[in-house]
């Protein structure tokens, strides 16, 4: 005798996967170890400056991803300045060619107590080989550009490979490049 029982089966099953809204954890700030000596701090600052120059030489104004490394080596005013320059040049459709060169690094001061200017140093920004062209290939470098521009840098403590980033960079008329 065949059972006449009709099994009722609900066929369609809707699976709803609920995604919770988990907040991203705030990045923890780890204290950077202090430098054991002035010489060590100056060496770290020079290395930071070299890394910054290297990062600049990787910049392709048409590819904002290449700006990030420069941003990573700067903070505060220097970072804002870089962001503004890159944004403006990229918006204008400009391109850059030739390398910026490390020229000179003269440490001036190391002060452990100062947060934004742990190290101060004079450098010479050598942009002799650099040309900046607009979208028509016309150079945007004015005749009065100083190919080797003396500048004073300050460095701030930050959790980078060197423990420092560039906090400010101010053009001077010191004799650093002479």
């Amino acid at each position: 005798m065949l059972s006449r029982t009709v099994p009722l089966t609900l066929a369609a099953v809707l699976v709803g996967v609920l995604v919770g809204c988990t907040p991203t954890p705030a990045p923890s700030v780890e204290p950077t170890p202090a430098f054991s000596s002035e010489a060590e701090a100056f060496a770290a600052a020079e290395e930071t400056y070299r890394a910054y120059v290297d990062a600049l030489n990787q910049v392709d104004l048409s590819d904002p991803a290449t700006f990030e490394e420069v941003y990573a080596w700067t903070t505060g005013e220097a970072n804002a300045g870089a962001r503004r320059s890159f944004t403006e040049m990229a918006a204008e459709g400009w391109s850059v060619s030739g390398d910026s060169r490390f020229d000179h690094f003269s440490p001036i001061e190391y002060d452990e107590e100062k947060i934004l200017s742990v190290v101060t140093a004079d450098v010479c920004l050598d942009v002799t080989l650099v040309d900046v062209l607009d979208s028509n290939g016309v150079s945007q470098v004015p005749a009065e550009r100083v190919d080797r521009q003396p500048a004073t840098l300050t460095f701030a403590r930050q959790d980078t490979l060197t423990g420092l980033v560039i906090a400010s960079s101010e053009a001077t008329d010191a004799a650093t490049c002479d």
Binding site: V17, P142, I166
Partner: protein, 256 residues
């Protein structure tokens, strides 16, 4: 004039003066101006709104002495103030009125975008979409001033990918967090009328304001937008039917 002077006093007290010439190497590519080394600071046409009041803003009508650069330059040569040049003695500094164009180098982060059911929706039923963006404070320099720019999410504009969009004051929340049943309507949910895959995007309109170091947030007119996409919703139809056997029992049955 009073407000401008009050602000200048505040700024001078805090020692926050505009750093006149930032010159990174990328600036040197074209040209850097050498920072001047005297007591001269920029005089800015002002933040002097007639009728503007400041709570408790007593202040003084005395003329402020010129602010000095925070870090003296390497060149000590100071212009002599012996001459009749009024700029030597009397300089009033007030923060400039900013526009969105001045904030071009400040970019708020893009919002996050998700939804539920994750990546799915059902025709005729609300599909919940949730965006998140938080207030951001970005330090930097504007027109030579050290500032902090604050972006506060003001509006969320959802584009649901089927041609419809909605504006919400918040980014919405999950059904669970809202304490609502699944597939119930929320402030940010959307009902799709047809099957298909729809790319959803959200634009957050941030209201910017700027602090010149005085602790006073000065709003900048307009909004700065940041958009996120990349969230596709596959909208399906759901039908129920009575069948004789389960798909396991009869893999060739209807709907199996």
């Amino acid at each position: 004039m009073r407000l401008g002077i009050v602000l200048a006093v505040t700024i001078a007290t805090l020692g926050l003066v505009p750093a006149a010439t930032n010159c990174g190497m990328e600036s040197a590519w074209t040209h850097c101006d050498v920072s001047n080394s005297g007591t001269q600071v920029d005089v800015s046409a002002g933040y002097n709104r007639p009728g503007a009041t400041r709570p408790g803003g007593g202040g003084s009508d005395a003329i402020t002495p010129p602010a000095r650069p925070a870090q003296p330059d390497a060149v000590p040569a100071e212009p002599s103030c012996a001459d009749e040049d009024l700029r030597c003695g009397l300089v009033v500094v007030a923060p400039p009125d900013l526009t969105l164009a001045d904030l071009v180098s400040f970019r708020p982060a893009a919002p996050t975008l998700t939804g539920e059911p994750a990546g799915f929706g059902v025709v005729g039923m609300p599909t919940n979409v949730v965006a998140a963006a938080s207030e951001q404070r970005i330090p930097g320099t504007v027109l030579g001033w050290d500032v902090t720019v604050r972006f506060v999410p003001a509006e969320f504009v959802f584009e649901y990918g089927d041609g419809s969009s909605a504006t919400a004051a918040t980014g919405g929340a999950s059904w669970e967090r809202l304490g609502q049943a699944q597939f119930s309507p929320t402030a940010t949910s959307h009902v799709y009328r047809d099957r298909g895959t729809f790319p959803v995007a959200v634009t957050v309109r941030y209201a910017p304001s700027v602090d010149f170091g005085s602790g006073l947030w000065r709003p900048v007119p307009g909004f700065v937008s940041a958009t996120s996409g990349g969230y596709d919703v596959r909208v399906v139809e759901v039908r129920t039917a009575l069948v004789d056997r389960t798909c396991q029992e009869d893999p060739t049955g209807p709907g199996c």
